[in-house]
């Protein structure tokens, strides 16, 4: 483990005393890959598992932020404290999130809500790992509810949303969202659907289409309900909160929550394992230079890669035998 980092001990003390600044700094450690972040997460591991993680995803313009604000207000009014993690793909010019903390804070619901944006900074695996760490930190900090809001409809967003305990997919009648959602694999990730802007043309048709499509879903997990909301007017938000809570009770009672969290942990092991091997072997072992030479000599990328991988595996097997 190496010598203890005095900054770590200090941060932990302030974190456990409920210092929001300490939480913010801890999340920055996770984003930046600070050398003590592993020790920090290890120290707090026993304090996680109490916050409920609700993922909110869907296409741009679906009104996710407005819905999230409504849910936040609802839960705060109910006396819960709440963390909101807004996950953005990277902003190319700034390297950071466009949806900055400050912007969201202005729109936000005041007391009891901690808002944080995360950006990918170009590394897909990195975003997913840092988001998981940030969610663990917010969980350990003691929030009752964690909202994970994503931007966009790509695989990264689905990964993030699918790492939640409950995943809400928000759609609107605009832009063929229904079929886009099916394409993007959101149907599989969803525990609940919201048709937002339910007062606009085509909303009821979209909701009906969704319900019909969901009947084709293989049985096993409960069929996701399709809720109608007008988030801008706070219509349907209380019903959404109730549906999330009903699903959560059901998942707890049936053991589905435990299975889902186990699968999430195993997926994380696999991801950290691969990322760690790749970083050490690819970045640190002269392999890039060898790859460049082979490519310059006209070899095909795949065969270069497989040869390099085979050499690594052969060394492992020789050692093992």
């Amino acid at each position: 483990m190496g010598p203890a980092d005095p900054a770590l001990a200090e941060l932990l003390a302030r974190f456990r005393a409920g210092g929001v600044g300490a939480l913010a700094r801890a999340i920055s450690w996770a984003e930046d890959g600070h050398p003590s972040v592993a020790a920090l997460l290890e120290a707090l591991h026993g304090e996680t598992g109490n916050a409920w993680r609700t993922g909110i995803t869907g296409p741009p313009g679906a009104g996710k932020s407005t819905l999230v604000d409504g849910l936040a207000r609802h839960w705060v009014a109910d006396g819960r404290c709440l963390g909101l993690l807004a996950v953005d793909p990277s902003s190319p010019f700034t390297g950071g999130a466009l949806l900055g903390d400050r912007v969201r804070m202005d729109r936000s619901t005041g007391e009891g809500v901690f808002v944080r944006s995360m950006a990918s900074r170009g590394s897909l695996g990195g975003l997913s790992l840092a988001t998981g760490a940030a969610a663990d930190l917010m969980d350990a900090f003691g929030f009752d509810e964690l909202l994970l809001e994503t931007v966009g409809v790509g695989q990264a967003e689905i990964d993030v949303a699918a790492a939640a305990d409950t995943t809400v997919v928000v759609l609107t009648p605009a832009s063929g969202d229904g079929i886009q959602a099916m394409k993007a694999g959101l149907m599989e990730a969803a525990d609940l659907f919201v048709v937002n802007k339910a007062d606009t043309a085509g909303a009821e048709r979209l909701a009906n289409e969704l319900e019909m499509t969901l009947e084709l879903r293989p049985s096993g997990a409960p069929r996701p309900p399709v809720l109608r909301c007008v988030a801008r007017d706070d219509q349907g938000v209380a019903e959404l909160a109730a549906a999330i809570e009903a699903r959560r009770e059901d998942d707890r009672a049936s053991g589905r929550l435990d299975r889902r969290r186990q699968a999430r942990d195993l997926a994380r092991v696999r991801r950290v394992f691969s990322e760690s091997l790749r970083a050490r072997l690819w970045d640190g072992d002269g392999l890039q230079d060898r790859a460049r030479e082979a490519l310059a000599a006209g070899e095909r990328p795949d065969s270069v890669a497989l040869k390099l991988a085979a050499r690594v595996l052969q060394r492992l097997q020789e050692r093992a035998s």
Copy 2:
């Protein structure tokens, strides 16, 4: 290499004779991970590098397919033969692409155009690898132009688009596309912007905003032009084709094309290398069981992963010393 696959020899002969059915089957091999696909790609490696790869990406509803059809018609009228690869994230119920070949064929432009959809089937790395292989196959088949059309605005789509020789980002005034594009990292990937539906309200403002934002872009590569199109009415399509061709001449002459293709090859080596190691080490070496046991004993996923990775690396180092 193992014993020669008679199916491979037969497929290669039909492929080289220009059989479209052989091309379709070769792409299926790449999608399905057929055991002879590596040998197939190896055999065709010397025949690639002649097709120009244009990536078309942008948010759902931006009119990408209409624009792609317009470009296809334009190039076919110019006597070029053209392959179109439509990249979809996975469709959860069918495991395949919703935008099936058949659907696109109906809309398509007839002679000289080969249309194929690819779906991710849940594996992000897999999509990117299979798409690269399919593009190589279409390239070797002898198309002059390759269009890579993506659905969605996630990282997977950006990866695919960024693997093209020229990347076109299509936006519309709807749904705050401009800011969404910046969020999704599309600004960095783009060589050309199209403001589609340029006859609708807000289009000119979006185009102006884009142009102003692009002035902030670090210098080096040429500044991407912002074109106005109404793809539905074929307005601006010829201008887009001309802009793509102008950019291509410039990239060829400046050596930028070579650098870009080298970077793309190196990224592919890295990806195939990691994927191959992960598959062999994680799936094949009893590591999953060890991970499950450690998690069940209450260990934190990250520390389980790092311990497993450290053990692999240690075995490699012991062998090397």
